[in-house]
């Protein structure tokens, strides 16, 4: 047992050093559901006080990873330590340090907001007086004080999610796991929740691991982002670094406004060597991922030769969406439909695609 631990985390002295630096250490973590490999030998570290984002399409394995780190699911292979404790052998200690806001809301409809918070506060052994104060304070932070004594069943989903969020925070955990914290919220509520997450991270020095499939959210909130696709981490860096990687390499995104855009023009542009990917945003707008120095000239030439008029051209900054696209070869929103049709042999496909990209 000792030797395994040493292999995973280096010598004991080094490990203590690591705990100071990294709140989470993951080494070759794998989860199989029968034949399906939901999480495939994932390794990464999360630094103390960091907001770490998991970005990936539906079924990528985000939730499964988080559930393993919270001790809710047993890993098939590999190991991980959270707050210096092994998630399998020291599950009880891990639970002392983590808070979870899961995809499915953990709340009881027939209980009031206050009663829900009190129940979980009590399970974490918070003394009554402190608990009362904290409940009121947290309710205030999410602007829900008014609804303290109303049953959750009468709340809108935005109101529920706020209570769900502070419920996971009631014991002010060292590490907070947020699985899609803004799921189903309107833009305004989502923004408030994001601000709240940032504030908790700042004021309580909570390390936060969140999952999302919204590029914007990862970009806004996270210090570092791990892009996960088919159970593997395909990239891990700060959002800025990830974006420079894309633009710095070869992919550039050009957006053309062509009032008399025709199908022939699109086909012509698509056939060009410099075109990586092309999408039509509106009847007159074309977004082209290109590579190479003469790409711009070539496309303009192709449009002109068909009598097209170019009203405007924009050189777009790459977004995380572009990063995702260039890394995985498919768009985030494609993944949902793809998942349905390719669940069976998606692993072959995934590796094929990966190989193709390397070439």
């Amino acid at each position: 047992m000792e030797s395994r631990q040493e292999r995973a985390h280096g010598s004991p002295a080094l490990r203590v050093e690591n705990v100071k630096l990294n709140i989470i250490e993951v080494d070759g973590l794998t989860k199989k559901f029968g034949d399906l490999v939901a999480v495939d030998h994932v390794s990464f570290q999360v630094k103390r006080k960091e907001i770490f984002g998991f970005l990936g399409p539906n079924g990528a394995g985000k939730t499964t990873t988080i559930r393993m780190l919270c001790t809710l699911t047993r890993p098939t292979e590999g190991s991980a330590a959270v707050a210096g404790h092994d998630i399998v052998r020291e599950a009880d200690e891990v639970r002392e340090h983590v808070g979870l806001v899961s995809e499915k809301m953990i709340m009881y409809d027939r209980l009031t907001a206050y009663e829900n918070l009190k129940l979980f506060g009590k399970l974490y052994g918070i003394p009554s007086k402190l608990l009362e104060e904290r409940i009121d304070e947290l309710l205030g932070l999410v602007h829900m004080s008014k609804w303290r004594n109303h049953q959750i069943g009468t709340f809108s989903s935005g109101m529920r999610q706020r209570i769900n969020l502070i419920r996971g925070l009631i014991h002010l955990p060292e590490v907070l796991f947020l699985d899609e914290p803004t799921l189903g919220l309107d833009p305004q509520s989502a923004l408030e929740v994001r601000e709240f997450i940032g504030r908790i991270n700042d004021e309580q020095e909570t390390s936060i691991i969140l999952t999302t499939h919204m590029m914007l959210e990862a970009d806004m909130l996270c210090d570092r982002v791990g892009i996960i696709d088919y159970g593997r981490i395909v990239a891990l860096d700060t959002p800025t670094e990830l974006k420079t990687q894309v633009s710095g390499s070869r992919a550039t995104v050009l957006e053309f406004d062509i009032p008399n855009l025709s199908q022939e023009m699109i086909l012509k542009i698509e056939a060009l060597d410099c075109t990586e990917k092309l999408s039509q945003e509106t009847p007159t707008q074309l977004k082209v991922h290109v590579k190479g120095q003469d790409a711009f000239d070539n496309i303009v030439g192709a449009v002109r030769s068909d009598g097209g008029r170019i009203a405007a051209v924009r050189n777009l900054d790459p977004t995380l969406e572009d990063v995702f696209l260039s890394l995985t070869g498919h768009e985030v929103r494609d993944a949902v439909t793809e998942k349905v049709t390719t669940t069976e042999h998606r692993h072959d496909m995934g590796s094929q695609r990966r190989r193709a990209r390397v070439r």
Binding site: L72, L100, I106, M107, R110, E115, L119, K122, L123, Q151
Partner: protein
């Protein structure tokens, strides 16, 4: 485990139980069902099951084929007795065949035939035979009817014999009680407690045990699998509390609910059917509590094994149904065939029902039911020892 730790775990359980009961109290429909279940149970058993061997004006065909005085005599005696007791409605028929036809048609449930030559047999010093027809498609009534008729005819015969003996004694100039010759042995039945007991006194303790058991056994899968399905169980599983205190909290809440229903059965049995508890009420509660303890492990085991709430419920009802009928709630175990008696002896409910019956009907004390208590605790310990580790594993799959 230190006492501080135990106290902490216990407080976690109590909070979980508090949550479950609070949810339950706010569920109006659930409350209605909570009240209706015992009422249905009592009222149904009350109206379906016969309370003793009593007949009430059942139609019976009566044929007198004898031409002599004896035939007329016995028919009139039968009619007199029946008028006083109101057991049967005697319908006159003309022949064997008509009697049978009436039974076939459902006009009568039985027949009494005084055959030809009844009088002459008696006057020749032979036994007179009376034929009783019964409807074999209705064994319950048949059995009761033939018992009752045999008893009545026996009684008439005894009176006749006594009259003969009295006459003989007069001739021999001796004084004696003619009954001492005709029926030399008399039986006097006495119960071990005052008063007579009805079917309800027999069935009420069993129903009580059953309602409490049903309530806990169907409540547990709902309480655990349902929360697992909708994802709220994760809230408990990710908190630094032991798996044991989660189960304990759930069990406490369900037991409380079950005992409330048990009390309702008790009250209803008293109000509707006059069933009283002869023993100590405290002992009744102890028995119910230990009864729940004895099978709660089974509930946890099934809940852990089942993948979702529906499967858990289905497995539970499959097990519950035979248990209800085999553990002597409705029919005495002693009347069952040996194999069934064997099965009954491995069901905790059998012991709970038996002990409750002793306490409630006979007023037995702790000293009379301790064997049952030990068996029940044994069942509980063994089942929990299997169930708790299985539950623990099932929760982190």
């Amino acid at each position: 485990m230190s006492s501080v730790r135990i106290r902490r775990e216990l407080s976690h359980s109590l909070w979980i139980a508090w949550k479950d009961l609070l949810e339950f109290r706010r569920n109006r429909m659930g409350l209605v069902m909570l009240a209706l279940m015992p009422v249905f149970m009592m009222v149904m058993t009350g109206f379906i099951f016969p309370s003793g061997n009593v007949l009430n004006r059942v139609p019976v065909a009566l044929v007198n084929l004898d031409e002599g005085l004896e035939g007329l005599n016995i028919v009139s005696q039968l009619e007199t007795i029946n008028e006083e007791s109101g057991l049967m409605e005697l319908l006159s028929a003309d022949s064997f065949d008509e009697t049978k036809r009436m039974i076939f048609n459902g006009e009568a449930v039985g027949g009494i035939v005084v055959p030809e030559g009844f009088s002459s047999a008696l006057s020749n010093g032979e036994q007179g035979t009376i034929i009783v027809f019964t409807d074999q498609s209705n064994p319950q009534i048949s059995a009761t009817l033939s018992t009752v008729l045999e008893e009545i005819i026996d009684g008439i015969g005894t009176m006749r014999a006594a009259a003969v003996v009295a006459g003989l004694a007069q001739q021999a100039n001796t004084t004696l009680n003619p009954l001492a010759v005709v029926v030399p042995y008399a039986v006097e039945s006495r119960g071990v407690v005052e008063g007579s007991t009805s079917y309800f006194d027999f069935v009420a303790p069993g129903i009580m045990a059953m309602v409490v058991m049903l309530s806990v056994m169907t409540g547990l899968p709902r309480a655990i699998s349902y929360e697992k399905d909708i994802g709220t169980l994760d809230g408990f599983l990710v908190a630094p509390i032991s798996r044991l205190s989660i189960i304990l909290g759930k069990v406490l809440a369900q037991t409380t609910r079950g005992l409330v229903q048990g009390i309702m059965v008790m009250v209803l049995a008293y109000v509707l059917f006059g069933v009283t508890i002869h023993g100590s009420i405290l002992l009744v509660f102890i028995l119910l509590f230990i009864g729940v303890f004895s099978f709660v492990g089974l509930g946890i085991l099934l809940t852990s094994v089942a993948s979702d709430e529906q499967t858990a419920m289905m497995m539970m009802s499959t097990l519950m149904f035979p248990m209800m009928f085999l553990s002597g709630v409705f029919f005495p175990i002693q009347q069952m065939p040996p194999i069934m008696q064997g099965i009954a002896s491995i069901l905790p409910l059998t012991y709970a029902t038996g002990a409750l019956r002793k306490v409630m009907v006979l007023g037995a004390g702790l000293e009379n039911v301790w064997t049952e208590l030990v068996v029940l605790i044994g069942f509980g310990v063994v089942l929990l020892a299997i169930a708790v580790p299985v539950f623990r594993r099932a929760m982190t799959r």
